[in-house]
């Protein structure tokens, strides 16, 4: 079927003005929040209702065409990019909050509802939606579900997976399934838990029941500054070991502090500090929050904090947080492009891993700024670069790979909240053996036997050991349609599909724990 005929058929469902085929229009959707991957979708369709989504997916099922669901496109792993031959289904028009059930602290929303808008809408009920990714003023709940998004306040309140009670999902076949229940108890196995974080590989969530959290009655926000990164890391461990669970516990290093202070988001962080910690305590009981805040101040001082400042009022609290939440934006001042990296290490390994990262940055002559969820051990080493400088791009790629290897070696993982997408496919064999990757692919095929939803993401198919399903079909089934299943693992910094870089080696040969580099 030609692209124009497909566009006509899609237009008959959603209205022709909600189908984009002109190159300039499609170019808007060629990237997400990560500037190192670029894919131009053939067709972009923006359905306006759940019924239109179902009709679009059913049409694509009949035609056997792969598709990629997308929210606001703020993802940081290249997860919402559509390959040539795939249709991009943009869900931002499905932006209705269908119900707020204040008594049961839940809400039913469409996938395109913007995260911060949901919290604003539930505020009059004394409730909010707790997961708060830095992109929360733009990112959608559907995208949060796909990526199992986190955020600073997930330390105390949990990540997206802890806040999704039920889902209505359209599978690739166009079938509708209902997972979970209004109270959050599964009907059998926890298919909601399995779906959240599946990066769009299992289907498209059209209705999402989220848990809402009471707004805390008391909040205290502290800023502590340290003259050594290691001391700040030790302060983090000391707070957690004392049995205190702050609402948020964030760290920024000197490079990040300076970028923020040079920007319009200047928050008054001390420029000469090696690191600052932003600690927030909250709860329903003001006396208890005040008492715990005193304990934290004491721990921070004992850990070597040069000064500990408490936000005197809401305006000051917002200013302190603005610096943190807009840090990625502020880093835009440092260079033309930015790779926001994501990895998790055991909290106690933070000081060592940060030193290792500084060493890697120096060796590759790159500026790496760290701003991260220290309480969870969730690092965001951000590499500033210029994408037009080919040699620099290669250095960024090599440094990223080394950072990932260092985090794995410390007992950590390659992503805590951004997902695998396209960007981290090649690191998956460092985390999981061929059998475990094969299990993931086999599960994906239960939901999407033809691998038509968001093909080529999450699981590096060539690194999987073959699983034969009960139907007797193996993963290397020669009958698979070309171009439908996942393509070989792309090579990091790309601007479009291209042949594998032979220098990366055969991923099938990549034994676990062994980093294959050019």
């Amino acid at each position: 079927m030609s692209t124009s005929a497909l566009a006509d058929d899609l237009g008959a469902i959603v209205g022709s003005r909600h189908v984009r085929v002109a190159p300039a229009e499609r170019a808007t959707y060629a990237m997400d929040g990560l500037p190192t991957h670029r894919r131009l979708p053939d067709v972009v369709v923006l359905p306006g209702t759940r019924e239109e989504v179902i009709a679009v997916i059913r049409l694509l099922a009949v035609l056997g065409i792969p598709f990629v669901p997308r929210g606001a496109g703020t993802g940081l792993s290249g997860g919402a990019l559509a390959e040539e031959g795939a249709v991009l289904i943009v869900l931002t028009r499905l932006n209705r909050i269908l119900k707020v059930d204040a008594a049961n602290r839940s809400a039913l929303v469409e996938p395109g509802v913007v995260n911060a808008r949901l919290s604003a809408a539930t505020r009059p009920h004394g409730l909010h939606y707790a997961p708060d990714p830095s992109s929360q003023t733009a990112c959608t709940i559907g995208g949060n579900v796909a990526e199992n998004a986190g955020g600073p306040h997930c330390l105390k309140y949990g990540v997206t997976a802890n806040h999704i009670l039920a889902l209505e999902v359209v599978l690739a076949t166009g079938e509708i399934v209902v997972l979970g229940s209004p109270g959050g108890e599964p009907w059998g196995p926890d298919l909601v838990g399995l779906f959240v974080g599946s990066e769009g590989n299992f289907g498209v969530a059209t209705r999402i029941t989220v848990r809402l959290t009471p707004l805390p009655r008391a909040v205290r926000t502290l800023l502590a500054d340290f003259m050594a990164l290691r001391a700040a890391g030790e302060g983090v461990s000391a707070i957690i070991a004392a049995g205190i669970v702050p609402a948020a516990l964030e760290m920024m290093d000197q490079s990040c502090i300076q970028a923020v202070e040079d920007s319009v988001y200047a928050a008054g962080y001390p420029r000469d500090a090696a690191a600052v910690l932003l600690v927030e305590l909250d709860g329903g009981n003001t006396d208890a929050v005040i008492a715990e805040t005193e304990s934290v101040i004491d721990i921070l001082r004992k850990s070597g904090a040069r000064s500990v400042r408490s936000a005197a009022n809401e305006a000051e609290r917002e200013r302190l947080w603005q610096g943190r939440k807009k840090a990625f934006g502020a880093m835009g001042r440092l260079s033309r492009d930015l790779v926001v990296q994501d990895a998790v290490v055991p909290r106690s390994a933070l000081p060592d891993v940060l030193e290792t990262i500084a060493g890697i940055a120096a060796r590759y002559r790159l500026v790496v700024s760290n701003v991260f969820h220290a309480g969870d051990g969730n690092l965001h080493p951000n590499i500033s670069f210029d994408a037009t400088d080919e040699a620099m791009r290669v250095r960024v790629e090599l440094a990223s790979a080394e950072i990932m290897a260092a985090c794995i070696a410390a007992g950590g993982t390659i992503t805590g909240e951004h997902g695998i997408g396209l960007d981290k496919l090649r690191y998956m064999p460092l985390m999981f053996d061929a059998e475990s990757l094969g299990a993931m692919l086999a599960v994906r095929r239960v939901f999407d036997p033809e691998e038509r939803v968001n093909p080529g993401k999450v699981v590096p198919v060539h690194a999987c050991r073959e699983w034969t399903s009960a139907h007797g079909r193996g993963l290397t089934d020669p009958g698979r349609k070309p171009g439908v299943g996942p393509k070989p693992d792309p090579v990091g910094l790309d601007t479009g599909p291209k042949p594998r870089d032979p220098g990366l080696g055969d991923p099938r040969a990549g034994a676990r724990g062994q980093l294959v580099l050019p």
């Binding site: 199992n148 109270g183 959050g184 196995p189 838990g193 399995l194 008492a291 290490v345 106690s348 695998i420």
Partner: protein, 396 residues
């Protein structure tokens, strides 16, 4: 060669325990690899295997060619008090695990029903959380990753050992509450809390209606109890219903919350311990135990429904979380009817514990919503292609 001879040749005599009362050979592999070897062989030979932990939670009465018990998988390879994580093999008893964690100043904030020696793997596989779910969430919230062996002997790792992890699909959540239908859990990576410095329990007796209302008021008041549990008189061994509030954390936090409790009676430490212990063990005594999960506001209505359909002698409920656990003696017909009635209210019923004839007729799960049944069946085929694992998932 008999099955027992083959298994002995495969795993050595040390893996063969005394047979169960039904004369089914009972095998205790000594390592995760041995579990994989055993299940791989079972798959090839067409043996049917039932899974047991310590044999204290699920009755060991499923018909099978052999029983696989995880009780020799009882090592704790890592406890990291600094990171508040631990890695433990699935067959360790929860009482032993708790002790080892406490020695390092760490705490697993889950208090499942059952006897103290119940295994970690059984708690994860059945996703049975106890009263602490009010403050610390369901079992899945305490898991960082698991390693499991599929019904055809493949060893699969999911998740990791760190606080946040979105690398790959979350197969850990599939295993938590899978009742072994998708494999045998052999290793668990746990998220811990610091051992609380203060841990107090207050109780109040009264009528069920009155206490449900008080529980709702407490939940709305901004207090953050670790447990807020409504317990029936028979289970609490008291004359009337009991509302128990458990507060844990730093002494300042706990005493601030205690001040807001009003007319509750504080239990002494040993009284509190035996109160919660009795509650947990009470659910391992009666023949049938199930849990249901509704929205908090429906708790009262659901308790009424249970009272009418199956009686309300042995009940423990978290009204503010919408979770209710029931135990007693009942029939397959009543359970099936109750599940249908609850399904119409969008409330799942999970059969946690029952004699095999009831389990196989009713199923641990059932009444799936639109389209979910084929997914569960597909996952079951994926992880146990030969149907080696004897698990009553869906009932008849």
């Amino acid at each position: 060669m008999t099955i027992l001879e083959k298994v002995t040749a495969l795993l050595g005599e040390g893996a063969v325990l005394e047979p169960s009362t039904d004369q089914v050979p009972r095998i205790a592999p000594g390592s995760p690899d041995a579990v994989a070897l055993l299940l791989g062989t079972a798959h090839q030979e067409g043996w049917h295997v039932r899974i047991e932990g310590a044999g204290t939670w699920l009755p060991s009465d499923a018909p099978a060619d052999l029983a696989l018990t995880t009780r020799r998988l009882d090592r704790v390879p890592a406890v990291e008090p600094q990171d508040l994580t631990a890695t433990a093999e699935a067959g360790i008893g929860l009482d032993q695990l708790r002790q080892q964690l406490a020695d390092r100043g760490a705490w697993l904030a889950v208090d499942p029903p059952g006897l103290a020696g119940r295994t970690l793997g059984s708690m994860v596989a059945t996703a049975t959380a106890g009263p602490l779910r009010q403050g610390f969430g369901p079992v899945k919230d305490h898991l960082l990753g698991v390693t499991f062996v599929t019904g055809d002997g493949r060893m699969v790792q999911s998740g990791g050992r760190v606080m946040k992890n979105v690398a790959g699909y979350d197969l850990t959540r599939l295993q938590a509450g899978g009742f072994g239908a998708f494999g045998v859990i052999v290793l668990v990576h746990l998220r811990l809390r610091a051992l609380p410095r203060a841990d107090v329990t207050h109780v109040l007796e009264g009528s069920r209606d009155e206490l449900t209302q008080i529980a709702e008021d407490i939940a709305a008041s901004g207090l953050t109890p670790a447990a807020l549990e409504l317990v029936s008189p028979a289970l609490a061994r008291r004359d009337r219903w009991v509302l128990a509030v458990r507060l844990v954390g730093s002494p300042t936090l706990v005493s601030a919350d205690e001040a807001g409790l009003g007319r509750f009676a504080k239990l002494r430490a040993e009284e509190a311990h035996s109160f919660w212990m009795r509650l947990a063990e009470g659910f391992a005594v009666r023949p049938v135990t199930f849990r249901i999960g509704g929205v908090p506001a429906a708790s009262d209505e659901l308790l009424d429904l249970l009272q009418h359909q199956v009686g309300d002698e042995w009940i423990s409920a978290a009204p503010a979380a919408g979770a209710i656990r029931w135990s007693g003696d009942t029939t397959v017909d009543r359970l099936q009817r109750l599940r249908r009635t609850l399904a119409a209210l969008e409330v799942p019923l999970t059969l946690e514990r029952a004699p095999w004839p009831v389990r196989t007729a009713v199923g641990h799960f059932g009444a799936y919503r639109e389209g979910a049944g084929p997914l569960v069946a597909g996952l079951r085929r994926t992880f146990d292609p030969g149907g080696a694992l004897v698990v009553a998932t869906d009932g008849e």
